[in-house]
């Protein structure tokens, strides 16, 4: 028998779903709805607070871009079925290493940056290797690294420089070829022109009087967009992306099917470390200093953004675009609360409530649309 094929018949047991509803069934959906909701909300309640003038937009864009950078890494790692609590400590550690290399040891900044990237990705790989070899949950392993890396970030500058903030990186980075890729701004000409043309406001007092209030797009935002595009293409358009879903969906099944699960997971731990390092380098280049307390709690913010963006904490499901929208929501909410003038000590309460609301909304929308319930 060579042909058991039967003609495809329409299934009478499936109720009709409209094409529109079908198009909505995607992990990003909650993120999209949330984004619309958040902008509507703040558009109504904080419109004239300066939140939507050029400076205000830049304000929440930068904060969101920060979240996006770490959310992309956390998202891919979470889809691959693991997570990393050491992201925040890694940010502090990476920043400190750059400062130590370039200031204490006097290396050229580009060398400091490159060595730091190599170092941090190696630590990420070590994280992954321990998780793979011992079979321990990544929660525990990366929690240990949360402590270890933070410890070194406090200890090293203390021993080497007798301070916990190392400054002067801005001066050292003057004229460096690599530093502007992290700390510079692009499209400065355009913004000056826009300012002259009156499209965006200019400063009317202080040292910068006459210059446009926003004088360029920080590289931070460029990095965020770049990483999102990279992550999205990697996840949805390549063989490796399929391996990510498989490793997170069911590592055993994937392994039996020939997916190199261990390699995939270790690479993702490295990528998360890479994203954290990008974050750290951008920060150090912008602020010119590294401190022992940088990046505190960032691991949670990354996970929150990813979950708001519709990924499953248990792995195997999610999208980079969703995570990016989650980061946007998180950033806009955070800054928006200040624009809206919310009592500052209530800030955390709002944050918690909105986080919970976003995730619940997300889940319900998905259920309603997929008809799960």
């Amino acid at each position: 028998m060579t042909n058991a094929a039967q003609p495809a018949a329409p299934d009478e047991r499936i109720k009709e779903i409209s094409a529109f509803r079908k198009a909505l069934i995607r992990p990003e959906l909650g993120g999209i709805v949330g984004t619309i909701a958040v902008f509507t909300f703040f558009g109504l309640f904080a419109f004239d607070s300066g939140m939507f003038n050029s400076q205000g937009i830049m304000n929440w864009s930068v904060v969101s871009a920060q979240f996006m950078i770490i959310a992309v890494g956390a998202c891919l790692l979470m889809i691959a079925g693991e997570f990393d609590l050491s992201v925040g400590s890694m940010i502090g550690f990476a920043g400190m290493m750059i400062a130590i290399f370039s200031i204490t040891y006097g290396w050229p900044v580009w060398l400091a940056i490159i060595v730091t990237f190599v170092l941090c990705c190696s630590i990420g790989a070590l994280n992954g290797w321990i998780v793979i070899r011992t079979g321990l949950p990544s929660f525990i392993v990366t929690l240990a690294f949360l402590f270890i890396l933070r410890g070194f970030t406090i200890f090293l500058p203390q021993v080497l420089e007798r301070k916990t903030i190392i400054g002067g990186v801005s001066d050292a980075a003057e004229g460096d070829w690599l530093a502007p890729i992290f700390g510079g701004k692009i499209l400065k000409g355009l913004f000056t022109w826009l300012g002259d043309a009156g499209v965006i406001a200019t400063f009317d007092r202080g040292t910068n009087a006459g210059q446009p209030v926003v004088d360029g797009i920080p590289m931070l935002i460029v990095w965020a967009l770049g990483l999102i595009v990279f992550g999205h293409v990697l996840l949805t358009k390549t063989r490796f992306g399929n391996w990510l879903f498989a490793a997170g969906g069911d590592a055993e099944a994937a392994r039996y099917s020939g997916v190199p699960v261990n390699r995939v997971k270790i690479l993702m731990f490295m990528f998360t470390a890479f994203c954290a390092t990008v974050f750290a380098v951008c920060q150090v280049m912008e602020f010119g200093s590294a401190g022992a307390d940088r990046g505190l709690l960032k691991e949670f913010e990354a996970i929150i953004a990813v979950v708001i963006g519709g990924a499953l904490l248990t792995g195997g499901y999610g999208s980079v675009i969703g995570a990016a929208l989650g980061a946007l929501i998180f950033g806009v909410v955070q800054q928006g609360l200040f624009f809206a003038g919310v009592e500052s000590s209530l800030f955390r309460v709002f944050l918690g409530v909105i986080l919970l609301g976003a995730v619940i909304l997300n889940t319900y929308i998905r259920r309603i649309i997929t008809g799960e319930r």
């Binding site: 607070s49 904060v63 903030i165 401190g291 809206a340 500052s344 800030f347 955390r348």
Partner: protein, 289 residues
């Protein structure tokens, strides 16, 4: 020779200001040839600090130098340390009366609320009526006392003029900018240490209010010193942490070796640092100043 002194603070280990303390206590240890140690609760939880004092007392040092961030919590452990024969000096937070009540030898430092109050009065004289207090560790009582003192010194309600800024510099910077654009008629900014002052400087730089808005800060750091030099920062309140750590070690050593003890408490601050009285500060900011 070789006496052992332990300094216990209430600061979480991320707080960079305490660095000066660590450096100066190490210096004092070296100069006096005594063994010194620095201890703190990693998260800044004062209840954990109480355990640390108990632990230090159990390990039997010759003296303990400690802050008194919360009298209720710390009085018990400090008192039993004193009773079991360990000499104690209170530094930084607390007050002379409290030190006496606990049987400590003396008090070296600057009460936080009073310092804030003095700064508030000074600002009031400069015609300030509203302000923004950038608090990078809102769960820490001592920092809230500074804001509260400042508000009381000005004679206004603190209300929501205290900003829970978090510790991420980009977030601090952007929150300050967000607050200022939402409340453009803010007269003054008060930051509570280098952690919040440095990004605030950048924020003011970026929104063009640098030099325009009245800016005062607690404690010193490299960037703060630069800010004072360039006139962006009006004044910095210096409580001279160096002395708070250095003097107790010296005093304890001499007390143990020769039985001498100053008759009075020592106020290491508050001193207002302005562009006029910088000098050496620039050189050692963040290290010994």
């Amino acid at each position: 020779e070789g006496e052992k002194y332990v300094l216990v603070s209430h600061a979480p280990d991320s707080d960079s200001w305490w660095n000066t303390i660590k450096n100066s206590i190490a210096l004092a240890g070296e100069q006096m040839d005594v063994e010194v140690e620095y201890r703190n609760p990693p998260t800044g939880d004062i209840a954990d600090m109480a355990r640390i004092i108990e632990q230090v007392a159990a390990s039997g040092p010759d003296g303990i130098i400690t802050t008194l961030a919360d009298f209720d919590v710390l009085s018990g452990p400090i008192r039993s340390a004193v009773d079991s024969g360990v000499d104690v000096i209170i530094m930084n937070t607390g007050s002379a009366e409290q030190a006496r009540e606990l049987g400590a030898l003396m008090y070296v430092g600057q009460p936080e609320y009073d310092a804030g109050f003095a700064a508030g009065q000074r600002a009031k004289d400069d015609g300030i009526t509203s302000f923004l207090c950038v608090n990078h560790a809102i769960q820490q009582p001592t920092l809230v006392q500074r804001c509260q003192g400042f508000a009381d010194g000005l004679g206004v309600e603190l209300g929501n003029q205290m900003l829970d800024s978090g510790t991420d510099p980009a977030e601090i910077k952007n929150r300050v900018m967000a607050y200022l654009s939402a409340n453009p008629d803010t007269d003054a900014i008060l930051t509570l240490g280098p952690l919040s002052a440095d990004p605030t400087l950048l924020a003011l730089d970026e929104n063009g209010m640098a030099g325009d808005i009245y800016f005062g800060t607690f404690d010193l750091g490299e960037e703060i010193v630069k800010g004072i030099t360039s006139g962006v920062i009006e004044w910095g309140i210096d409580q001279q942490p160096f002395l708070q750590a250095y003097l107790p070690v010296v005093i304890l050593t001499n007390y143990h070796r020769y039985g001498v003890l100053p008759g009075n408490n020592i106020n290491s601050g508050p001193g207002f640092i302005t562009a006029d009285n910088l000098g050496k500060i620039e050189e050692f900011a963040g290290e010994y100043r």
